[in-house]
């Protein structure tokens, strides 16, 4: 846990440094125009095929080196909880995850893990999602289903409103960088399942979260499990029938990246139709609560968004 605290502190330092330099840079070092170009956007939205769009989205945020420094341990959390093929859109696209693994490798990460606590049988999920085959070709044995209780350890949630503690994967606690790489999909109890809801894939006991009001619990969880980088795979969007499907799969064709989990989730909610309707981010309780509790921003209209096509 101490290590976790340290990581978070480190992370805050980096963020602070970034904020300070962003504030100082225009006046001291660069012309206004150059600053506008160099200061990374809050949200990067890239239309394109899964792999290249992922790379471009991370690059728009300043490149992977902003998030992963040489020698760091990285955990990537995709959705691979269902034994379904990529076209069903209940799991993250294998090429999105693979591109992230390659990026982390390029940044010199000392260890890269792609993990999920699977719902279906681990073997089937890793196989049918296509994620294992795609990523293990890059880094051997990097894709793992983590379901055994001995691989989790307890974490206190000081800011928790409904949950005071939970069991989190040790691999995550021992890591330096957490990357959320969810697929964009609907969810029959939380509206959508994006980066914040995806953090439930890193804990052992999800059962009690349903008892204790799942939206608040998701936010509680995100007070301790903060992804430094969120890359939402909206190349296909499971608009109905989520989380497992089958349901209507919209051709989203885009990847949405941000340092802010809440902003990424909020943008994704507003961008697509869910059950053939448009929703505001505030209509998803866990996004609204996360915004109110200061975990991130759902007011996307006030955020700097950079959109490109590759």
């Amino acid at each position: 846990m101490t290590k976790m605290d340290m990581n978070r502190r480190d992370f805050l330092k980096v963020q602070l440094a970034g904020a300070v330099s962003a504030f100082l840079a225009p006046g001291l070092l660069l012309t206004g125009r150059a600053a506008a170009q160099s200061a990374p956007p809050d949200l990067a939205v890239v239309t394109g095929s899964p792999g290249p769009a992922t790379r471009a989205a991370v690059d728009l945020l300043g490149g992977i080196k902003q998030f992963v420094r040489p020698g760091q341990r990285v955990v990537i959390k995709p959705n691979m909880s269902f034994s379904t093929p990529p076209e069903r859109a209940s799991n993250t696209h294998p090429e999105v995850v693979r591109e992230l693994v390659i990026l982390c490798q390029e940044a010199g990460a000392s260890s890269i893990l792609v993990v999920d606590h699977t719902l279906h049988r681990p073997e089937n999920c890793l196989e049918n999602s296509g994620i294992r085959a795609a990523c293990n070709a890059v880094v051997k044995n990097c894709v793992q289903a983590v379901n055994d209780p001995s691989l989790f350890s307890e974490v206190k949630i000081p800011q928790g409103r409904r949950m005071n503690s939970t069991e989190v994967m040790k691999a995550v606690l021992q890591s330096d960088v957490l990357i959320a790489a969810p697929v964009a999909k609907s969810h029959s109890s939380t509206g959508v399942s994006l980066s914040m809801k995806g953090m439930m894939g890193l804990v052992y006991d999800r059962r009690t979260m349903h008892f204790k009001d799942i939206h608040t619990c998701v936010v509680d969880l995100c007070t301790v499990l903060k992804a430094q980088l969120t890359v939402i795979d909206a190349t296909r969007v499971l608009s109905t029938g989520g989380p497992g499907g089958p349901g209507t799969v919209l051709p989203g064709r885009m990847v949405i990246a941000s340092r802010d989990m809440v902003a990424a989730d909020a943008y994704t909610v507003a961008q697509f139709e869910w059950y053939e309707q448009k929703f505001r981010p505030a209509q998803v309780a866990h996004i609204r609560q996360a915004h109110e509790r200061g975990l991130g921003r759902m007011d996307i209209e006030n955020l700097k968004i950079k959109k490109i096509t590759v």
Binding site: S188, R207, T240, A285
Partner: protein, 537 residues
């Protein structure tokens, strides 16, 4: 090490390898081969199930070989005999005298008669004493979980080292320890047997084993048998060494062929080399009085088996008549997918536990008396423990007697084991108005749908019975524990003795279509209230 030990070792190793293959799900291996070699298991099932299957061929070969070679099955092939013999080597004490149990040796014929008596009524008692059924349970239900437990402990011990080296392949390897009901019976039974084996060699084989009894009937005078030449000095060494006391105490020249398991110990140890197993008659051969039961006693044993079986049929929990589609079974008694109708199922099931051992999710469990005492140790699916994967046919693949029909993968999808029922008073969405819908999330079919209910802000689940296969995903994953808010009842189960499950189910108006294969057109869903999507405010 004698030739026999090598053969025994190979057979036990092959038996265990096949059990391992069953657990691993390796295709193509005849994983139930040794079970199908068990004479009593096959003969009793032939009578109780009224079936003759190609699968019974191995036992027929054993039968055919016995009048020629004697009881070589017992001494060379039977994994039960080998296990007992191997364990005897480990006993901490040494006993020299080996009583002949002349009268007790006849008990095995009583056991055989009891089993056959029940078989004639279509009730299988074979599980109480079939050596292969018992030894499969010993290794499958007791040793396998034990090894898994040790493996898990070993992995945990290694973990700090593995973490240090980032050895992901091993770090994330986890061993699930299977847990089986009735394992305490297996333990107690074998503990008693091991003690007896430690005291008296082959005690089980010569006094209780009905397979031995059946083979003994075929080996009264096998072609290949023991002969003693002129050189015999009547030193009595062979009499003391014979594990089954088959050599007459007063005359080492004569032996009981039906008791002899052809272990060839006497031939090996004779100081005068006067003992020889060979084919054909011998002039000096004398045959002592056989140990066999009188016909009257045998019939009495059979009658007791028959009457016990009859009593079993009057059990309120026992099967009634010929089970037919839609018959309501005992509450909570969900049989493996593709199980024959209950009565035929119990007539065929030999309780070897092979399906229970091989089930990848361990949803299959042996039961105690839930199906009456004639259903003792038979398998059921227990969704509290796991779920039944509609794409999996492991239990049917390993069943030695076809009590669980091996269906085509397509037909397998149409098996209805029961129906899920929502207990609204316990359901988080219905009763506590909390968003959940886990049952919908995990259902592999399209049986659970959400809908909106007046005055409830969250979507609530609803089971479409005609789309529900009773696989138990919903019950297993339901967050309400220990008694889930959605449970599977055997109501509506379809069990066929023959014919296609797909056709039958479709005729009954069922729509068992997997989510991942939306091949079958489904009836229109009831639309939710307009402007509502689940989980949004």
């Amino acid at each position: 090490m004698s030739f026999r030990w090598i053969i025994q070792g190979i057979n036990l190793a092959l038996f265990l390898f096949l059990l391992g293959a069953a657990i691993k799900g390796s295709a193509g291996w005849p994983v139930d081969l040794y079970l199908r070699m068990d004479p009593v298991l096959v003969f009793s099932t032939f009578i109780s199930g009224r079936v003759l299957l190609w699968a019974f061929l191995p036992a027929l070969i054993v039968f055919a070989a016995t009048p020629i070679l004697g009881r070589v099955f017992c001494s060379h092939f039977c994994p039960m005999g080998t296990t007992l013999e191997f364990l005897r080597k480990l006993r901490p004490w040494r006993r020299s005298n080996n009583p002949s149990f002349k009268r007790l040796s006849a008990a095995k014929y009583l056991v055989l008669a009891f089993i056959l008596g029940g078989s004639f009524l279509g009730i299988s008692w074979v599980f109480i004493a079939s050596p292969l059924s018992l030894i499969t349970r010993f290794y499958g239900l007791f040793i396998y979980p034990l090894l898994a437990l040790l493996g898990q402990g070993g992995l945990l011990l290694l973990r700090p080292l593995v973490e240090r080296w980032d050895w992901n392949a091993l770090l994330f390897t986890s061993v699930t320890v299977p847990r089986f009901f009735t394992q305490i019976f297996v333990l107690a039974f074998f503990l008693a047997l091991f003690i007896l084996e430690g005291l008296f060699p082959r005690f089980w084989c010569r006094t209780l084993c009905p397979a031995g009894a059946l083979l003994a009937l075929f080996s009264r005078r096998p072609l290949f048998r023991r002969k003693v030449s002129e050189g015999c000095t009547e030193c009595g060494k062979c009499v003391r060494a014979c594990p089954t006391a088959a050599i007459a105490e007063d005359d080492p020249r004569s032996s009981h062929s039906e008791e002899c398991i052809v272990c060839l110990t006497c031939e090996r140890i004779c100081p005068e080399k006067a003992v020889l197993f060979s084919i054909g008659p011998s002039k000096r051969e004398k045959r002592p009085e056989p140990f066999v039961l009188e016909r009257r006693q045998f019939l009495l044993g059979g009658a007791v088996g028959f009457l016990t079986a009859a009593a079993g049929l009057t059990d309120p929990k026992g099967p009634r008549g010929k089970g037919k589609a839609g018959e309501v079974l005992t509450a909570g008694l969900l049989r493996p997918p593709g199980s024959l109708p209950e009565k035929e199922f119990l007539a065929r099931c030999v309780r070897c536990g092979e399906c229970v051992t091989a089930c990848p999710t361990h949803v299959l469990q042996p039961i105690w008396f839930e199906a009456g005492f004639i259903g003792l140790f038979s398998p059921k699916t227990l969704p509290q423990v796991g779920y039944c994967d509609p794409l999996c046919r492991r239990c049917a693949q390993v069943c030695p007697t076809g009590a669980i029909t091996l269906l085509s993968p397509e037909d397998r999808l149409w098996v209805k084991m029961g129906t899920a029922v929502i207990h609204k008073e316990k359901c988080l969405a219905w009763e506590r108005k909390k968003g959940c819908m886990v049952c919908d999330e995990v259902c592999p079919y399209k049986a659970v749908e959400f809908r909106f209910q007046e005055g409830n802000p969250v979507a609530v689940p609803e089971v479409h019975e005609e789309r529900c296969s009773g696989c138990g995903y919903c019950e297993f994953y339901c967050p309400v524990k220990p008694d889930a808010a959605i449970t599977v009842s055997p109501n509506g189960a379809v069990r066929l003795a023959k014919g296609s499950y797909a056709e039958t189910a479709q005729k009954m108006g069922l729509h068992l279509s997997l989510k991942q294969a939306p091949s079958l057109p489904l009836p229109e869903m009831k639309p939710g209230a307009p402007g509502r999507a689940p989980g949004f405010d």
